[in-house]
């Protein structure tokens, strides 16, 4: 505690060095759950780019690939083109609503289990334990002098940090190019400069954020805690120290000496020792708590040892806390999770997901966009016909070359041809060959008799001639000179 004297003069520090956090190893159901999540998320992150997926000769055979150069996004059998970016937007919206859903139901569970910062911090803390030993050994080493042993241990530890960080950065770039090729190129010095740069930056950030800044990222840098606080209500599950049951604290000995004078907390400090962000949950809900529930595991262990019921620290809603304080029992967990708010979030979330799946199933892989050339709007031909020019953008989104027919309807007497042919060969329908997985730009000429309205809407449509006959159509305007012009 600072004393008032500290304020005279300039003794108030400008900055505060990070206080080391040396969480103790703990075991229990939540810890095991955290292990499982860590294993799954890391496996997904490091492994996904190596899954192969055969798409035929015209497309990459990497299951998940963000192909920035060709502006394609591949995800198993789904291929997203830039103009279909709304699918990505839909995913982002789902992620947002998913966060609402999770937070309103189980508080900051994302923070505690799935956030990359949490996962890598957890991983690095295991490295600490592996090299330096558990909490006490770590503290001793940190406060001790720089002996040869400390130097060696630090060197080993930071090397492991660096290796993990490098692997993390290396895995990142695999999402943007063919993984095996890129790996070979990377080690033979032939990869793009941006690949090396990205790996360097990702390695550095992982090393610094996961190895050294840890909980400071959660407390000072991350906006999620603030946002999530706003999304929680009195029915969201939070890690709560049940002070009405635990206080006043006292050791087993004291409790034996004064039966009935003390609460259940035996003041063993295990909950503080295991906390990865170094806070004391007994001081109440606070921003540093990522609700990882390791303190629950620790306290349940302590309770088991002294033969008291578990759950002195437990997931508990603010409403239940008030009820229990008043002597009642809280709601069953099912009621907490399945309440209107979470159900509405879940409904919206599933609806967006279903809509996206549906439209993915419905979308045609032959897309047409027509642009009317405006200068000039129309051209008078020597035989008196009027010609309008259009630019067709034909997207063949299948990974094979295709043959398609382009035709017009709703414009009597119209004939069409492209700049590859001439008007002699014009007809009401033309056939085009489209290369695989590409956008083809075609200049289309449409000629129609001069007699007719000055502005007339008609339809240009495409149709697949091989395989999937579905196509796309666009309604566009045909312009003629005004009468008397």
């Amino acid at each position: 505690m600072a004393s008032p004297e500290d304020l005279s003069g300039q003794s108030a520090p400008l900055y505060e060095a990070r206080k080391g956090v040396y969480p103790k190893a703990v075991n229990g159901p939540f810890r095991r759950f955290k292990w499982a999540i860590m294993a799954v998320t890391l496996a997904i992150y490091y492994g996904t780019p190596w899954i192969r997926w055969d798409r035929g000769p015209y497309a990459p055979d990497q299951a998940v690939l963000v192909d920035l150069a060709n502006r394609r996004f591949y995800m198993f059998q789904i291929e997203i083109w830039p103009h279909e970016f709304y699918y990505v937007a839909g995913l982002l919206i789902m992620a947002g609503i998913g966060l609402f859903l999770v937070t309103s139901a189980v508080g900051r569970a994302w923070c505690g289990y799935a956030c990359p910062q949490t996962v890598w911090t957890d991983l690095f803390q295991h490295v600490d334990r592996l090299v330096d030993g558990d909490r006490n050994a770590q503290v001793r080493l940190a406060n001790g002098p720089w002996t040869a042993e400390k130097l060696t241990k630090r060197a080993v530890k930071y090397s492991i940090y660096l290796t993990i960080a490098f692997w993390t950065g290396g895995a990142w770039i695999m999402y943007f190019a063919d993984a095996p090729t890129l790996t070979a190129d990377f080690w033979t010095g032939q990869a793009a400069l941006v690949a090396y740069g990205t790996v360097a930056v990702m390695t550095a950030t992982t090393f610094i954020l996961g190895g050294f800044m840890r909980e400071q990222v959660c407390v000072y840098m991350c906006p999620w805690p603030r946002i999530q606080t706003a999304m929680m209500d009195e029915k969201s599950l939070l890690v709560t120290y049940k002070d009405w049951r635990g206080e006043p604290r006292g050791s087993v000995k004291k409790a034996q000496a004064h039966p009935g004078g003390f609460g259940d907390c035996i003041d063993c400090n295990q909950c503080v020792a295991v906390c990865p962000t170094g806070i004391d949950i007994r001081e109440g809900p606070q921003i540093g708590c990522i609700t990882c529930a390791l303190c629950i595991d620790a306290c349940d262990g302590a309770m088991a040892q002294v033969g008291r019921p578990r759950g002195l620290i437990d997931y508990c809603t603010l409403d239940d806390a008030a009820t229990e304080k008043a002597g009642g029992t809280g709601q069953p967990i099912r009621k907490t999770l399945l309440r209107p708010r979470t159900l509405i979030y879940f409904g919206v979330w599933t609806a967006i997901g279903a809509a996206m799946l549906f439209s993915l199933g419905q979308r045609t892989r032959l897309d047409l966009a027509v642009q009317h050339e405006r200068s000039p709007l129309f051209v008078q031909l020597s035989d008196g016909h009027i010609r309008n020019n259009y630019t067709l953008k034909l997207r063949n989104m299948e990974t094979r070359p295709r043959r398609v027919a382009v035709s017009v309807s709703g414009l009597p007497g119209a004939v069409l041809w492209t700049d590859a042919g001439s008007r002699e060969k014009a007809g009401q329908r033309i056939e085009l060959a489209l290369p695989a997985d590409s956008v083809t730009s075609v200049k289309l000429f449409v000629a129609a008799p001069a007699i007719g309205p000055a502005r007339q809407d008609f339809t240009i449509g495409t149709r697949g001639l091989d395989g999937d006959p579905r196509g796309d159509s666009d309604i566009i305007q045909f312009d003629r000179p005004e009468a008397g012009q």
Binding site: M1, L7, R374, P376, L381, S382, K443, F445
Partner: protein, 308 residues
């Protein structure tokens, strides 16, 4: 509010900043060390930037910076790099006869695009964006009617040598006589010729006037415009039987044209633009929508009568 009296907050042991707003006080929590370091680093970065790069605006320019970098210099470098990047294509176009371009779709496409850029700089002033032309002044380049011919080589010749260019031998020349102004035909005769021209373009029915006009036409006009008004490309004489009229196909316009013809002029671009640019321009004009295919190339410098 501000009594500036700092005190120690009981609960946290941290001093307050000394202000109080409606009973709310702020803790004077020290920044984390990394934050402060980052802050100092941004200051160092800023100072270094000011020294290295143009930064402070002065009266008529900015401080230069010791690296000598400028966005203008960057642009020059980019332009040079771009020219280098385009060189193979440009050289290939230069080495290909214009009539051979369509057989090489990639080159043709590059030429059309390059020509489009040149067109937007040099040609839109008269022929309009997109080559639509201006009624009564400049012909449309997008239709299927060509005064001097619409195949690639012919277009290239026209662009190179221009039309009715004074002081240039190879330019395309022809002069339609001013039948009215110079008194070659009187007003009634001109009216008859107009009637005849309008009958061959199917705008009027045959009449006594048009029959008289037929004779006058045969005597005065057919030598350039052809016996049936089918036009004569050697002299750029327009076809009179179609629906396209540069100076208008109604009675008044035709009367005005015959009385005092316009004889439009187009500058020659040879000498002003390099041959590759002219070749690309021609390809662009050809591709605008009305180019004519399959005609024999014209010999360079053959003059106005070297037409196919």
């Amino acid at each position: 509010m501000a009594d500036l009296k700092q005190r120690i907050d009981e609960a946290t042991g941290t001093s307050t900043v000394g202000h109080e707003w409606d009973g709310i006080e702020e803790l004077d929590t020290p920044m984390p060390r990394w934050w402060l370091w980052t802050f100092y680093a941004t200051i160092v970065w800023g100072l270094a930037y000011v020294v290295l790069y143009p930064a402070w605006p002065m009266v008529d320019s900015a401080t230069k910076g010791v690296l000598g970098w400028s966005s203008r210099g960057d642009l020059a470098k980019e332009m040079a790099a771009d020219a280098k990047r385009r060189a193979p294509t440009v050289n290939a176009i230069a080495a290909t006869a214009i009539t051979d371009l369509p057989a090489k779709p990639e080159l043709m496409q590059a030429a059309v695009q390059g020509g489009g850029a040149a067109f937007r700089v040099h040609c839109v002033q008269c022929h309009g964006a997109g080559g639509a032309g201006v009624k009564n002044l400049y012909p449309s380049l997008t239709d299927d009617d060509w005064l001097w011919g619409g195949d690639l080589a012919t277009i290239e010749y026209t662009v190179t040598h221009g039309i009715r260019n004074p002081d240039h031998k190879a330019t395309r020349t022809s002069l339609m006589p001013a039948f009215g102004r110079d008194g070659i035909l009187d007003a009634a005769q001109i009216g008859d010729v107009v009637s005849f021209v309008r009958t061959i373009s199917r705008q009027e029915k045959v009449s006594a006037s048009s029959s008289r006009g037929a004779t006058l036409f045969a005597d005065n006009c057919a030598v350039c415009h052809g016996a049936g008004g089918e036009g004569g490309r050697q002299v750029g004489a327009p076809k009179l039987t179609d629906a396209i009229w540069l100076y208008g196909g109604d009675r008044d316009s035709l009367t005005a044209t015959i009385t005092q013809p316009r004889n439009g002029v187009m500058p020659r671009w040879g000498g002003r633009l390099d041959p590759v640019t002219i070749k690309m321009l021609s390809a662009y004009v050809y591709a605008l929508g009305g180019g004519e295919k399959g005609l024999a190339p014209v010999a360079e410098g053959a003059g106005a009568d070297g037409q196919p």
